[in-house]
Symmetry: C2
Subunit: 424 residues, 2 copies
Amino acid sequence: MTATPDAPRGGWTWLERILSRRIRIGRLTVLGPGPRRSVFGAVPLDAPRLDVVVRLKDYRTAWKIAFRPDLYVGQAYMDATLTIEQGRLEDLLEIGLRNSGGPPRWNLLARGLRALQHRLQQANSGERARRNVVAHYDLSDVLYFNFLDSDKQYSCAYFETPEISLEEAQEAKKAHIAAKLLLRPGQRVLDIGCGWGGLALTLARVGQGQVTGITLSAEQLAVARRRAEIAELDHRVGFALEDYRALRGQFDRIVSVGMFEHVGTPYYQAFFDKIARLLTEDGVAVIHSIGRMDGPGVTSAWIRKYIFPGGYVPALSEVLPAVERAGLWVTDIEILRLHYAETLRHWRERFTANLDVIRTKYGDRFCRMWLFYLTASEMSFRHDGLMVFQLQLARSVDAVPLTRDYITAREPAPEARLAAIASA
Amino acid sequence: MTATPDAPRGGWTWLERILSRRIRIGRLTVLGPGPRRSVFGAVPLDAPRLDVVVRLKDYRTAWKIAFRPDLYVGQAYMDATLTIEQGRLEDLLEIGLRNSGGPPRWNLLARGLRALQHRLQQANSGERARRNVVAHYDLSDVLYFNFLDSDKQYSCAYFETPEISLEEAQEAKKAHIAAKLLLRPGQRVLDIGCGWGGLALTLARVGQGQVTGITLSAEQLAVARRRAEIAELDHRVGFALEDYRALRGQFDRIVSVGMFEHVGTPYYQAFFDKIARLLTEDGVAVIHSIGRMDGPGVTSAWIRKYIFPGGYVPALSEVLPAVERAGLWVTDIEILRLHYAETLRHWRERFTANLDVIRTKYGDRFCRMWLFYLTASEMSFRHDGLMVFQLQLARSVDAVPLTRDYITAREPAPEARLAAIASA
């Protein structure tokens, strides 16, 4: 094996200069090749855990991180050219996010590039949408079923208190959405982006209607269909491998959880126009998606490259113009803030507990990549303005009751949800 | 008295052509000068009340209405050059709104003019803001106190059911807002656009904090101060004649009900930047405003000329960019749809019941103007996409609890509100 010559030492100096300007909260010690060691910031009295020591394997890694931290911190962690010698990954990422000082000041060229990048990222034709989905969701069950809850909810749970279990919080999420959908027996219900079918099955059970779930992932479809059979609900729940743009017909209720992140801004108008066309005159829809509180942004280069090709987290100001032009009523907007951070914490803990099984199938680098993804996402919900919004939409002014009290009234009490988990 | 020569008959023909193309829902019979009589549309089986006969005094009125219905229907009603011979004003307006067929298709010139008009309407410097407020809110108490509820709430009430009284619904509105504000004893609370002080007094009573209410109307200020004295709350509630832009200091809670409609789109950023500066790190704000569901629009020319100079009803898509740029968290958005229609119905009924008193002071034409305003507004909430939004805002991700359950939990039960009304 031939050693690759390292990059010049300039990268180290550059990185030192950036970190010494940035790090104000927490202490970051960076060990470099040979005897190099630099300390930035100070340990806060109220958060002694924010004291992290990392080692960079070579000058090349320093160069890359100084150049594009949003891409190369994650990549170096995956490649183990950045290793953590003291402290935890979550603390390293917290130090990074809390010292980012808001959106950087770009010069005019960078702004232009950013806008271009924003547009390019969003191209999402039917074929590319399918490829993007396959890349992420067709990973084998060995991965997902080793960190998700027993119902395979791969989206933000609903924590009435942070103490409840992930199972209970996912059950609460489904109950919360079902309540907002005001289900009645006999209704036609559509689930766009149905995943492994858990929500569709619950809606069929709760609402006694006819549920259609669509996905672009063949792996998810097979699991969802098998589950419907096992639950003896296949006469009331149908699943299909289909793009929402190809759907025909009308539905009394439409739900979409964790799919809107893949739609792409140039397709927002088509998406909501389609919802308006698919919805009956007195219909109700609930769209549940990750959002950002600080206005339009750019997806992290690392996330885009390794986790969600084509993914984008919108600000509400990017979503609402399309809803308004589609002639839809926004009848409610709920903003779930720390719920996804709690969900991701549970996923990370379960992932870590099942690390051996996952490592056997996917290897070390994949595990580090996935841990970085789960941890970075959690920290973004805690410290970088990510949230989840639930848009409730309708075509008629009186499609939902006068006040929101019906939501709580229609949710089963916590004990009833626990019973549902036990019997599922 | 010399008779003014009438306009040529062409106006009648023009109006006939427009109405015969437009009227599809309901029947409108128009009687003109001399024997002229034209019937448009048909009476719907499910709404026999939509059968209205109006008389136009002269051809000039027909011309004007054909040319600019949004300005001249109201003006002709005020001037009694348009009179209703069969049916009610609300039915006439419902026929008008339900046959408007959504936003009209403008040609390019009209679009340009509309955009210009939109900008011009929104100029709202400190001095103009004061003049606009004086024009509407300094009308004497004889007007307002003859149609508002006993607490003088000149904004949308909260109807848990349509059957409750206006007094109860206004009490419920204040309780709902107080619950969203998560009041604690000792907090500094700011009410921007405090009206006659009812909300500020309630918040001081409920929250046991120090409340500051500001208004630009000297009439409202005097009444609010008197009420604080009578209620023996003047040690905890202060009122001032002040523009929000001139405020200094910090507040734990900020509320603004029915004032945002006067801010003007060019000032939205300044408004939310100011909210962000006035709010403490763990503070919470609630902004309650009329909105429209169908995207940016133009205020009716009649409303702007006679009722609210400088007023504008925004779409959420116009408001959220400024909130996001101000770095504020949107922690909840509630959309109240038919509540203002119910409120306006109550106001109109009370106004009509007290018509003699009001007419003695203001005269016939003013009463017709005001009735047209109340009725047109009610019908716009029922049939033309108007709503009320309550934005809850914060600076920190954890300023409000994880779920919205605290809102209902903090609202007193209906019986407790009835007791509050009785003892007020």
